[in-house]
Amino acid sequence: MKQHKKTFKKAEALTMRDMLFYNPALTKEELKFEAEGIADFLDIVFKNTYGASYETGINKQKAVADMVDILIAADKTLPHLAARIDDDYNF
């Protein structure tokens, strides 16, 4: 998604504020709006490209909201995001 240029291993240390979408000059509503775009796209990629399904009790609304919560938290890392995705999707 063109959010960073690090290798998979080095990306472990990246936080959300290092991502291309995380503009600190945006209002919280604008930043959340941008994060929703990222989360919606990821949700579709997981389901369509990688054949993922939601875990029991999870739907699109919850999965996207969970991703957005992480995406807008400046200090959360990519492993934090990956862990939340792993909680919500069955790959």
Binding site: Q3, L20, T49, G51
Partner: protein, 387 residues
């Protein structure tokens, strides 16, 4: 200097003796040691007490300790950032903070595959300087927003079972690459994105808004209601026409190319700006200046335009530097001559910064927001620590 050394001091969590503490102080800051020896306690105390980094550190620890608790959902959405305010016409500074809080009253999707939703949310935001006359961002707001949020595009092909296995293999191969340049130039990306069939994403939000806005001491305030459209387009695929329309990124694309950050010249489709446009009806409730100028506090219409943009500036030794910007413009529609003459019909505010690798930033802001009387140029430079 002290701003740099103080957060380092807070790393000293396991100090066992006075001597150890002295050693930590000496290692963290020769300036602090000299100050203590010279007996300049009052000056040092002022520096410490006026350092927003100290308060951000304390607030961060409190916030992180409670934000993930399930019974603290309202608290989780509260963001507070302590900072130093200074206007261009004065060397005086004031400690203060900005705050943001929002809460979604209702959010409902009809199915797992629906991509449109009804939204209703409340948000609060503002800047508070402890010496209010030194606040160049003297603006607070409380808003209710009701509307719809949705997407066009931003989809990928549905993969057959065999293809999913192939794509997972490609991902594993990409994950094994340990060199950034090799990763960026890998042909595997082309295979992956071609198989995925990524379409451009268009994200919109159309809503009715209403709320209150005012100065930090509530001496001026107004009620607003109106409608707004927020829009963002993104291209996540390579060499895309939509990406080429990102003219804001052209100068940065050139810098990236010249510095070798990018091997080919091209704007980023993922860095297209987010844009908000709205028309508000504004009813002043406490605005003595407007009352003096026009003889009344009648409702007026206002157009606003807001845009945010962020892109990669360059990589230095694999450390990315990003350029961040936001522009906000407000203009009164059919403003009276008296309001125009007093330059109260139009406000614009621009802020930009360069941030790098979670460690430092340089920023510049210029302009005024509603309720500011003069344009203020604000420069900031700072360091950020992960403790």
């Amino acid at each position: 200097m002290l701003l740099v050394c103080l957060p380092a001091l807070s790393q000293a969590q396991n100090i066992g003796s006075v001597q150890e503490l002295k050693d930590k102080v000496a290692a963290a800051s020769p300036l602090l040691t000299e100050g203590l020896e010279a007996g300049k306690y009052k000056t040092l105390a002022n520096l410490v007490l006026n350092d927003p980094g100290i308060y951000n550190e304390i607030w961060g620890r409190v916030y992180n300790s409670v934000r993930d608790k399930k019974d603290r959902l309202l608290f989780r959405n509260l963001k507070i950032n302590f900072k130093t305010f200074q206007s261009s016409d004065s060397n005086r500074t004031s400690l203060g903070f900005s705050y943001k809080w929002d809460y979604e009253v209702n959010k409902k999707r009809t199915s797992d595959y629906s991509r449109n939703e009804f939204i209703a949310k409340i948000n609060l935001a503002g800047n508070i300087a402890f010496k209010k006359n030194l606040n160049p961002l003297d603006f607070q707001s409380a808003k209710l927003e009701i509307g719809t949020n949705g997407f066009w595009g931003g989809t990928v092909n549905k993969s057959a079972a065999g293809l999913i296995t192939e794509l997972n293999k490609i991902n594993q191969q990409l994950a094994a690459i340990e060199d950034e340049d090799e990763l960026a130039n890998s042909q595997l990306w082309n295979e992956l994105t071609k198989a995925m069939g990524i379409t451009n994403q268009y994200h919109y939000n159309f809503s009715a808004t209403g709320g209150w806005e005012g100065s930090q001491d509530f001496s001026k305030s107004q009620v607003t209601y109106g409608a707004q459209l927020r829009f963002s387009a993104k291209s996540y695929a390579d060499k895309n026409i939509l990406a080429q329309l990102n003219v804001l990124d052209y100068p940065f694309a050139l810098i990236r190319y010249i510095t070798g950050t990018d091997k080919s010249l091209g704007a980023y489709g993922a860095a297209l700006p987010v844009v908000t446009m709205g028309i508000d009806l504004v009813k002043p409730t406490k605005d003595t200046i407007r009352k003096q100028l026009t003889g009344n506090e009648k409702q007026f219409a206002r157009f606003r335009f807001e845009a945010g943009f962020r892109t990669l500036l360059l990589n230095i030794n694999n450390v990315p530097l990003h350029f961040n910007a936001a522009y906000r413009f407000f203009t009164e529609i059919n403003a009276s001559t008296a309001i125009k003459t007093a330059a109260l019909n139009r406000y614009s505010f621009f802020t930009c910064s360069v941030t790098g690798a979670d460690t430092y930033f340089v920023s510049y802001s210029y302009g005024k927001l509603p309720f500011d009387r003069t344009n203020n140029a604000i420069y900031e430079i700072g360091f950020r620590f992960n403790l």
